[in-house]
Structures are given as structure tokens and as C-alpha cells.
Amino acid sequence: MAEQPVDVEPGGQNVAGEAPVEEPEAVTDDTTVHDDDVELERTIGLVGGLAIGIGTMIGAGIFVFPGLAAANAGLAATLSFAIGGLIALLVALPTSELATAMPRSGGGYYFISRGMGTAYGAIVGLGLWLGLMFASAFYLVGLGHYASAVFAELGVALPFSPVIGIGLLFGAALTALSIGGTENTAKIQNVVVGVLLVVLTGFLSYGVLDAVGVFGGGTVPEQFFSRGYFPVLTTAALVFTSYLGFAQVATVAGEIKQPGRNLPLAMVGSVLIVTVFYVVTIFVATSAFGADRLGQFGETAMVEVARDFLGLPGAVAILGAGLLATFSSANASILSASRAVYALSRDALLPRKASEVNLRYGTPHVALVAAGGPILVLVATGQVELLAEVASFLHLIMYGLMCVALIVLRRRNPEWYSPSYQVPGYPVVPAIGALASFGLIAFMQPASIGIGIVVMLASYLWYRYYAGDVTLKGDI
């Protein structure tokens, strides 16, 4: 068992007089070792890691975006998803290297604070926490759309749109469940992801065969760039929310077994798998209806696609899958947000109280409420596209900075930096990853960019006020 020494020494104090918790002594395949023979067990295997990545991502790209993306970019939305996947892959590779060098809780925040210093770390860490809330809220609104579609399917006519109400209900329920529930949620997550992949594979296989004319249906040939070239990039920026999940694997890097092997496989693997599913989904969906009609169906367009192919049973299957997928995405994001709060509070960037563990349930109730509360406010806005873009914005900043952090660390080459996985094509891959991440932001709506910048500024000011003296940067 290879022991990897950890040699980063944080220092300083925040306003409340709390200092960052000491770093562990070593990292092994099975544990993180602290002094005095205290160990933290690693319990998540490769399957668990993949389930976190895929489970977080697949809800959005397949069940919420197809209609919206087709309305914006036409058939070329397929290309938008491919571009998103390529950028995600360009970031996932450097992230894998950083994660194997520093397999600790907190993911991107941890890498950037250790590689580039507290200020960048604070912006990314607080941004990650808020970004995950925007992402959760986005998934919950998507869930609301699917639940409303269920009502519509049952013929229950409601005098008002239940989308936001249902989103709020599930948001509150999820937070409460996370605090009070101690059942094995990871196992459930694995099963949910497995079921989703099976349902989707069946559905998409049928769809592809149908699209190429095997069942005689055939499709109307359509111009690929029916909306022009520019919307392809703005759509890529919009749907990038579908690729935020792989970094959530890094958030629990401290709990992954054999991190040197499993982290890169889980992150790169989940990006590749969902990219294939997304591209095929959009292709099938747009060839079934054409972009215009698909766009009119909005968030639950996939239900109509399934109905077109397989009738009512198809629609019911996709409705069920959509509910499951958006629910599991929201759940995974809330849990990741709570991990982010823990990482920040461990490093004295948030009050220590924020990561306090509930004595009765053993769960971090303060962190979960800190994630769940604001999510409800965000859900109440009901702005699917805005929520998605702000979430993407805050993540893209982190992705870009992770690539920069990798280049910084490689150039300074400090003694403690010894990743077991090395990114191929250095320095080109991380450099393009950084440029592409920052570049994609330019194609977002001005409102999303504005909110994102305000969040970053607020994060920086919080750091200056609360933890200006805390140093987290590794010795480089």
C-alpha cells in the first residue's frame, strides 16, 4: 500500500479566532491518516464514484434540456452538447491529476486553495457552494415540470401551474431527508443510475433505429444549422449545466477507495458516458419532431418524443425516469453543497459551527440547511435557464482555475505534489481547458454573467473580511 505524504501547512486565523484544521499526515488506498493513529476510512468504490458523476449529470441533459436546446440551436444542438462534453473532458483530465495528488474532501476548492492561495480558494469555494445551490434549484424546477406533466397525463386539471410548488415541496423534503435519514442513500443512488441507464439505452436504441428509417418511419431531413452558427455556442453555454457532475466526484475525493485509480476513471468515465447519451438523445429527439415542434414542448419534450415512438407506455416510462433523474441530481447536488460547506469551514473560511454534526442523526444539519434554505428561494424564481447558466458560470470559473492551478503546480513542482495520474498532452490540454472554460462564459446571457460576477465579488469581500489572515497555499 503506497503511502503518500501530505505536506501542506495551512495557517492564520479568521475573525472568530478559528484556525484551519491541521492537514493529515498521509493518504493511503483505504484511509486518510491523521496523527495519533486516527484514520478516516475510504468507502466509495469505482461504481459509487461513477454513480455520483452520472447520477448528478444525467438528470439535466436528457430530461430538461432537449426541448430548450432545440428551440435555440435547431438540429445543431447536437453539436452544442458535443462541445460541452469536449470542454468537460478537457477539464476532467486535469482535475483527475489534481485529485490523485490531493485526494481530499472539497474537490476543486481544495486544489485551487492549495495551488493558488486563499483568495482564489475562497472565491471558488464559496462559488462552488452557491453554484451547487443554483444547480439543485435548477434540477428541482425540472422535477416540478415532470411532476406537473404527470398531473397533465392523469387528466387532473389544476387552476394554477404546480411546477414551482412541487419544486419547493421536494426541495424541503430532500433537505429534511438528508438531515434525518440514515438509510443507505449511496446504494439507492447506484440502483437509480443503473435503472436510468437501462431505460435510456432501450429507448435511445429504438429511437436511433427509427431515425435512420428501420421502422419505416423515416424523418424529415432538416438543415443542420437551421438557426445559424452563433446559437450553437450560446446553447453550449446553456446546456453546460448537464456536465457539472464530474467535479462532484472530486468533492468526495477524500472518501474514494484507491483514489489514484478510481478518481480518474470515475471522472473521465462519467463524462464520456453522459456525453454519448446526450448527443444520441438530442439526435433522436430532433429527428423525431424537428427542432421547431420539439422546442414548443419545453422542459418535458422527451415525454412527447417517447409518446411518438412507443405510445403511452413510452411516455410513462420517460416520465418516471425524468422524475427519478431530476430527483437524484438534486439530491446529489445538495449533498455536494454540504461537503463544500464542510471543506470551507475546515479551513476557517466559514464558521466552524457551519459543519457541526447533529448528535441525534450524525448528519451535518447546519450545512444541509445552509444549502437547502437558499435553494428554496432560488426554486421560487422558477427561471430554468437563468438558474442553469449561473450554476454553469460558477462551475466554469472553478474549472478554468483548476486548469490554471495544475499549470502553476507543474511549473513550481513542489515536493508534496506527486500525482499518480498525469494529464496527457501537458501543457496544451490544461491550457485549452482553461481557455475553453472561460471562453464559454462569454456566450451566456448578460443577466447570468452579472449574477455570477456579483457572487464572486461577494465571495472575495467575505474572504477579506472574515478570513484575510488565513493562508492555505501549499509551500511552492
Binding site: 486518510t32 486516527v38 484514520e39 476510512e41 468507502t43 477524500g254 454534526v357
Partner: protein, 244 residues
Amino acid sequence: MTDRPSILVPIRVLEGESVPEGVPELLAHAHVVMLGYHVIPEQTAPGQAQMQFEDRATERLDEYETMFEAAGATVERRLVFTHDGQKTIDRMTAEHDCMAVLVPNATGAVEDVLVAVRGAVGIDRLARVVAGLFGETDASVTLYHIAEDEETDEDVGTLLEGMVNRLKDQGVDASRIETRIDRDREALDAITETADTFDTVVMGETDPSLATFVFGMPADQVADRFLGPVFVVQRDPTPNEDEE
């Protein structure tokens, strides 16, 4: 001192589990690997629990360490925060090369030890644990075997005799060793029932099967029903070390 068998003593240190009465004396001749562990739900990062609970857990482990040492044992300790208690116990057993895991239940002074001898497999380790723990005490050791239909009395005799010889070689006085054989009984019930009149049980680990998956390991079931301390002798780890 090299003959002290390493015994893993897992304690859920923050859930009110402590070292029960009589256990330090029971382990006076052992090398105790004391595992204080705390199982946390998946919503919680292990480090988060560590931040809050490490001091309290360490305090208790200090106390327990003193108890074991006062009784005469040598002690090694670990504190682990985990999502999966069983994985932690298995890993500790392998890493510290523990001969047996103790299910710590309270007991009085140990006068009678029941040793369940299942078959020839693993009998060496069983003998080493029994001899190491009780060789220098006055406790009487009863070797217990539940014969299956196809086993002849001769087979059973050879098996138990082999065990007796091993114990004698390792310094257990032959006059303290008894044997007892039962036939046509369900092993688990038989062990639990017989154990009633004994102070502690030493038994082997069984291979995981569907039944153990559904009902739990037999050793755990025995421990649940017997209510006294049970030593579960671990299989020799060398042959199938590279699982997963």
C-alpha cells in the same frame, strides 16, 4: 511475549459502547488491537465527524488503554471514522494480522472456555489463539465438535486428538482439556445452547454464503444469543489476499 495472539477489539466508541466488565482480564495474555470506530451516515464527511468528536473519542480510548494495560495486555490502538464499520474491521484485521476478533460482551472470571472445533481447516490458528490466551491461566478448555452424519467416531476422535496435541505442545496442561461431541444437531443452536454453562466461546470464522448474507455471520448470531464474549478466529489471510 512474541506468542501473544493479536486480538482485535472493536468498540463503537461514541455510541456508549465501552470495554465491558471482565474483558480486560480475559485478554490479559493477548496483544490487544483496540479499534475505536465511529460509523457516520453518508451525508457526513468522515473528516467532519473527526473535527467534532476526535477529542472525546481519544479521551475514552485513553481510559480503555489503561484498563487493558493494567490487566497485563499489550495494546495498540486506532481511531477510525467510517461509513462502513464492517470494512473497517476487516481492514484492521488484515493490516494488524489479528488472529481473532473479539465480540466484547461482559463476563466474570473465566473458568470454562468452550472451543468450537469445526474441522481440520484453520485448526492451527484456533489452537494458537486458545493456547496464547488461556495457556497460562487455570481455565478449563472444552473442545466441542458437532459431528455430521457421514463422520465416523474415529474421524472425530482424530480431529479432536490433533487439537489436544497442538494445545499440549503449546503449553496447555492436558488435565485441563476436555472434549465433547454432539451428533445430529444444528451447529448454531448446539453451540449457543452449550455455551450457556461456559464463560466464553472461541470459534472459527465461516465462509460467507447466501445464508450468512441473509442471517449474518454465525459467529455474530452466537454472540447475539450467548451474551458473553466470543472470539472469532480469522481465516489465514495469505491465500486470498488480493480480493478486489
